[in-house]
């Protein structure tokens, strides 16, 4: 067999599953040999390299051929992919907003804005990539694990009016899946950041910032709210229509969030400097970060108030 065919089979072997490698390669070697011999009989001579190349092209690129022997053909299947896509967009939007805030502070306080801009761009790109990888991994595990959303196949319309999730309760209106996925992503990011499993890169600012002891009073209320909200949003994802009990629950939760945001807004010194890495004016950076925090809390309080008002209207409207 020619060098060309040997190289093709060598390439293909490297991509094949280890246990079947020799067996598959032997079968394909025989098939290639048969195809070459058939062409040679028709032409009455040995094939040139170009002609052998044509035979191998008929088999396909080694990577593509080897891939067809693998049992798993996709990382995230079609059932879960739409939710994965929403979640990925939501996570990237949220970290872009947060990254934008931190980048703004870095650019305003850095002695060399251009250098700070480059550092921010490089660090943010790396952080966004990690976030995308985590979302992809979570959904890959969900798709290929035992929890394959089998409730989607076990759907029973008769169960729609069961218990507290009754559809008999008005008003009934659809909840856009992107909205729910966005809220799930932001709640997940908040929860992970709150328990310090997710740390935003603040070294762009030249200082390492952290939440001060003033947030201790808020720790368990925020933790409980995140967990309850996560569960509520999970139900919204599975049953994407509003019901009176669930609107009432959302109203209560948003009132609680509003209270947390207002109290946090009125609390001073929520952030402190953990380490000065290279900043020449750390107090200025801290002040800017505190302004950003206050502004964010104000905006979140306003959003919560709007959501409360919306839910009140939904509940009183017939």
């Amino acid at each position: 067999m020619s060098t060309l065919v040997d190289h093709y089979l060598l390439q293909l072997r490297t991509f094949l599953p280890a246990k079947q490698r020799d067996d598959i390669a032997a079968e394909l070697r025989d098939s290639i040999r048969s195809a070459v011999e058939e062409r040679e009989r028709a032409l009455g001579r040995a094939l040139s390299d170009d002609e052998q190349n044509e035979v191998l092209r008929g088999f396909g690129h080694p990577l593509v051929v080897a891939g067809r022997y693998l049992p798993m053909q996709h990382l995230i299947g079609p059932d879960v992919f739409p939710l994965y896509w929403y979640a990925l967009q939501a996570v990237l939007i949220v970290i872009t907003v947060i990254g934008g805030l931190l980048a703004g502070i870095a650019l305003l306080t850095a002695p060399n804005a251009a250098q700070a801009a480059v550092r921010v761009a490089v660090d943010f790109w790396w952080f966004a990539l990690q976030a995308a990888a985590i979302v992809t991994l979570v959904f890959a595990v969900l798709d290929h694990g035992k929890a394959r959303f089998s409730f989607l196949e076990r759907f029973d319309a008769r169960k729609l009016d069961a218990g507290v999730l009754s559809v008999r309760a008005a008003p009934l209106s659809p909840i856009p899946r992107f909205d729910t996925t966005f809220e799930l992503a932001t709640t997940a990011i908040l929860l992970l950041w709150w328990v310090e499993w997710l740390v935003f890169p603040s070294q762009w600012l030249g200082v390492v910032l952290r939440l001060s002891s003033a947030v201790e009073a808020f720790f368990y209320p925020v933790l409980v709210l995140c967990i309850v909200d996560f569960a509520r949003l999970g139900v919204d994802l599975l049953r994407p229509y509003r019901t009176r009990p669930r609107v009432a629950l959302r109203l209560v939760l948003n009132l609680a969030w509003l209270a947390v945001f207002v109290l946090a807004y009125r609390t001073e010194g929520l952030i402190e400097i953990a380490e000065n890495v290279r900043s020449q004016n750390p107090e200025s950076v801290l002040r800017m970060a505190e302004i950003a925090m206050s502004t964010s809390l104000f905006v979140l309080a306003v959003v919560s108030a709007v959501l409360v008002a919306t839910d009140v209207v939904r509940l009183v409207r017939r």
Binding site: Q20, D23, I24, A26, E27, L28, D30, S31, R33, S34, A35, G58, F59, G60, V64, V65, R68, Y69
Partner: protein, 107 residues
């Protein structure tokens, strides 16, 4: 009509029929090369990069059996339909005929 769209739809149309055709042809024993030739002579072209992985998948699903044997001084892997494969093939052919009849009524 864009050619990419036609190719994609054609691929979807062929995907299921290739499995039935391969199972049906393996009522008698073949190795990969002769199977491909037999299908081509009957009007169904299938490239090697698709056929061989399909044979392995069908074997892993218990629809085919295979063995290595020597022929013409070369080791070849011969495939044939298993007992379970015969049962499944009959069901697939019934399904195929029903779909064909339905499609004839529609078009």
């Amino acid at each position: 009509m864009p050619s990419e769209l036609i190719d994609k739809l054609r691929l979807e149309l062929r995907r299921g029929t290739l499995t039935v055709a391969v199972l049906a042809q393996l009522k008698s024993e073949h190795y990969g090369y002769t199977l491909r030739k037999a299908l081509a002579e009957l009007g169904l072209e299938i490239d090697e990069g698709t056929l061989y992985p399909l044979l392995r998948r069908l074997e892993s699903q218990g629809l085919l059996t295979s063995q290595w044997r020597q022929e013409d001084n070369r080791e070849k892997r011969f495939y044939r339909l298993s007992a379970e494969g015969r049962v499944i093939l009959k069901q697939l052919l019934d399904e195929w005929r029903a779909l064909n009849a339905a499609l004839d009524n529609i078009v």
